[in-house]
């Protein structure tokens, strides 16, 4: 009887524990990318452009960049010319504030917008092959540059809601992002290391997926894991989260396309 009382008291204490020790942003010197948690084989795969399967997406993206599309018969290159110059550093500052929409827009969203409005082509499916390839190609042009999130003041409230989402418990398992990626970063979930939630290499080639995937796919993965109802691709929640996550990782090197296990 006493033991049972003690047990229920413990449960009570646990469920009253504060959600997280605040969003303790890792100081710049201690920031780690998912790359640092990988084994030497996966690291070597990412570093060698002829072994990194994400580079197949970059090649695909390059072809799409130069291919005329839609009623306008314009290609991305018709307006933006050589992506190696014009797209340098672009992915490092996204998401940015979109004047037309009055809210932040991510890179895949911007590419989709250009596709429909300027090229007058059918919309790209989020997370479809073409959208991922173009995002990877544009992202790749910032590889090696530091993440430099937009400092537009209009983004601040959205970044704040991203931070709120990061610390909000969700799903049947009732976990917040922060409980794993701040409080227990560097630990393990089963056999998988828990990284610090610095999205430096997206879209990534994830070996488990055997394909390229966006940050949003990765976030949905985590949400399904906590048995939460995952946000839809391109939803405002995901873009706010991305704003906040990129802010946390500011100054870190862009790795697109990264390889992850």
């Amino acid at each position: 009887m006493l033991a049972r009382l003690a047990a229920s008291a413990l449960v009570l204490v646990l469920s009253c524990a504060p959600p997280s020790a605040q969003t303790a942003e890792t100081p710049p010197a201690g920031r780690k990318s998912g790359f640092d948690y990988m084994g030497p084989d996966s690291q070597a795969m990412q570093k060698d452009d002829l072994s990194n399967p994400g580079m197949l997406g970059v090649l695909d993206g390059e072809a799409l960049w130069n291919a005329p599309a839609g009623k306008s018969q314009k290609s991305c290159a018709s307006c933006h010319s050589d992506a190696r110059d014009s797209m340098k550093g672009v992915a490092a500052r996204y998401p940015v504030f979109d004047e037309a929409g009055g809210r932040p827009i991510d890179l895949a969203g911007r590419i989709g917008q250009c596709r429909e409005a300027r090229q007058e082509a059918p919309a790209l499916t989020r997370e479809g092959r073409e959208s991922l390839a173009l995002t990877t190609y544009v992202g790749h042009q910032s590889r090696g540059m530091p993440l430099a999130p937009s400092t537009d003041a209009r983004l601040t409230p959205f970044r704040k809601s991203g931070e709120a989402l990061y610390t909000r418990r969700m799903g049947q398992l009732n976990f917040s992002c922060a409980q794993c990626h701040d409080d227990n970063a560097g630990g393990h979930l089963g056999s998988a290391p828990i990284p610090q939630a610095h999205p430096t290499g997206y879209p990534i080639y994830r070996l488990e997926w055997q394909a390229l995937g966006s940050l949003q796919r990765r976030l949905r993965n985590c949400m399904v894991g906590t048995r939460a109802d995952a946000f839809a691709y391109g939803s405002p929640e995901f873009i706010e989260l991305e704003l906040y996550l990129n802010w946390r990782a500011r100054g870190m090197e862009v790795e697109t396309p990264a390889v992850r296990p």
Binding site: D48, D49, L50, S51, P53, M55, L56, L59, D60, L207, Q210, A211
Partner: protein
């Protein structure tokens, strides 16, 4: 056609063992998975890979559904003469993709 990344050292000394790495973009659909409608997605894999060096087969492999998407194949050969390496991947439909890479041997 699918995209391929091929890593062949452009120069080698005669008699050297050279490492060759190939990566082909391919879904490698196993034939065991079901689609959203519950029906099996038909098998569609690369089932054969051959590499010839100046016409002579130096490496070949049979591939099966357990091989991952975007198969990465790496092997070694002895650099004998300058010439061309020809890589060919054949899929279940019988279609073959061919890529070549030059090698110069001193």
């Amino acid at each position: 056609m699918a995209r391929a990344l091929i890593n062949v050292p452009s120069k080698a000394k005669r008699g050297d063992i050279v490492e060759i790495k190939t990566l082909l973009s391919h879904p490698m659909e196993t034939g065991f998975r079901t689609g959203v409608d519950g029906a099996l997605v038909p098998r569609e894999i690369i089932n054969r890979f051959v590499c010839t060096y100046n016409g002579e087969v130096v490496f070949s492999a049979e591939l099966f559904p357990a091989v991952s998407a975007n198969p990465f194949i790496s092997f070694t050969t002895v650099a004998t003469d300058s010439g061309t390496l020809v890589f060919s991947w054949t899929d279940d439909q019988g279609k073959t993709q061919v890529q070549t890479a030059p090698i110069s041997v001193e």
